[in-house]
Symmetry: C2
Subunit: 184 residues, 2 copies
């Protein structure tokens, strides 16, 4: 859970990254950055700031901001009804990310994870993405990613997003972020 104040501060901070990365936004979009703590109440370490450009019955595009070393927890996009699962292309616009997918575990990966959290991350094949580099994540593929020391701004192209139905390795994850009103 996040307090309203934490939520707003993360929105403001994310907007600074978006502007630094020269993402062109409407005034409405600037107000609509969503902040996800995945129910872990530890936004600095695990979470994401997401601006959705659109989400139709076939296509979606978002920009994801990660703060320095922030992790987007391990998850996958399940098959739902007639959809075999979301296909996703991540393309870094600014900063650097370490993306992990199934495959031969990379020795000495760049990711930093506390030992208590280590068990919630099962795939360790590392893809390093720098500005202008992209990677296609097939449907149902387990993946997670972490920003490097400067944070990251990522263009995220996909088929229809159904975020609330994503599967997560960490059983404590709740995809819907609870916001507590601390301003009364």
């Amino acid at each position: 859970m996040l307090t309203k104040k934490q939520y707003r501060e993360a929105q403001k901070r994310a907007l600074k990254y978006l502007l630094k990365a020269r993402v062109v936004l409407s005034e409405e979009e600037k107000q609509n950055i969503s902040v996800a703590d995945f129910g872990l109440s530890d936004l600095e370490r695990q979470g994401g700031q997401i601006l959705t450009f659109f989400n139709t019955e076939r296509l979606s595009a978002k920009v994801i901001v990660l703060f320095p070393w922030q992790i987007l927890p391990e998850h996958w996009h399940s098959a739902i009804d007639n959809d075999i699962g979301k296909e996703e292309v991540m393309r870094v616009r600014w900063g650097e990310i370490y993306l992990y997918v199934p495959g031969e575990p990379t020795p000495n990966p760049k990711a930093k994870i506390s030992s208590e959290e280590r068990g919630n991350f099962t795939v360790w094949h590392e893809i390093i993405l720098k500005p202008g580099e992209q990677y296609i994540i097939p449907p149902q593929t387990v993946h997670w990613f972490q920003a490097g020391q400067d944070g990251a701004v990522i263009d995220d192209y996909s088929s229809t997003a159904r975020d609330l139905q994503d599967g997560f390795t960490n059983p404590r994850v709740l995809r819907a972020t609870k916001v507590i009103d601390d301003e009364k």
Copy 2:
């Protein structure tokens, strides 16, 4: 048709627009801008410069550069096999475009078309798109667009692109650009 020299010059010119619009590209992508004259041999007035980021069996993303007042000719994305036709979202990153779709014709549209070419454009409902603005074009929808006086850089998100199978109103259009080697 274009000469090799024309093709290369259009590539170089398009790259300048992409850099001005702060599109982040790999070195390989900088060399791979494709130039389309739609078989009309009149690139300044009708054509497009296109950089494809990826084109999978479900998704595609491109950046389209239009020079000042350049028109991308009227066309539609047909149903093919199991695909009901390409769905496309155009989002302007730099400059301005005038997009035309079916609907009530707009009085005094901003587009500039020579009288000889007028017959090759049948839809006149105008959507003006400025930086940070986007529009969703449903499958099979007839559309065309023209850049304003400064040109334009457009993020183009879509389902799978099958450009060579697009339909065009102008019967003279050939989607594959013929390049003549003038350098021997």
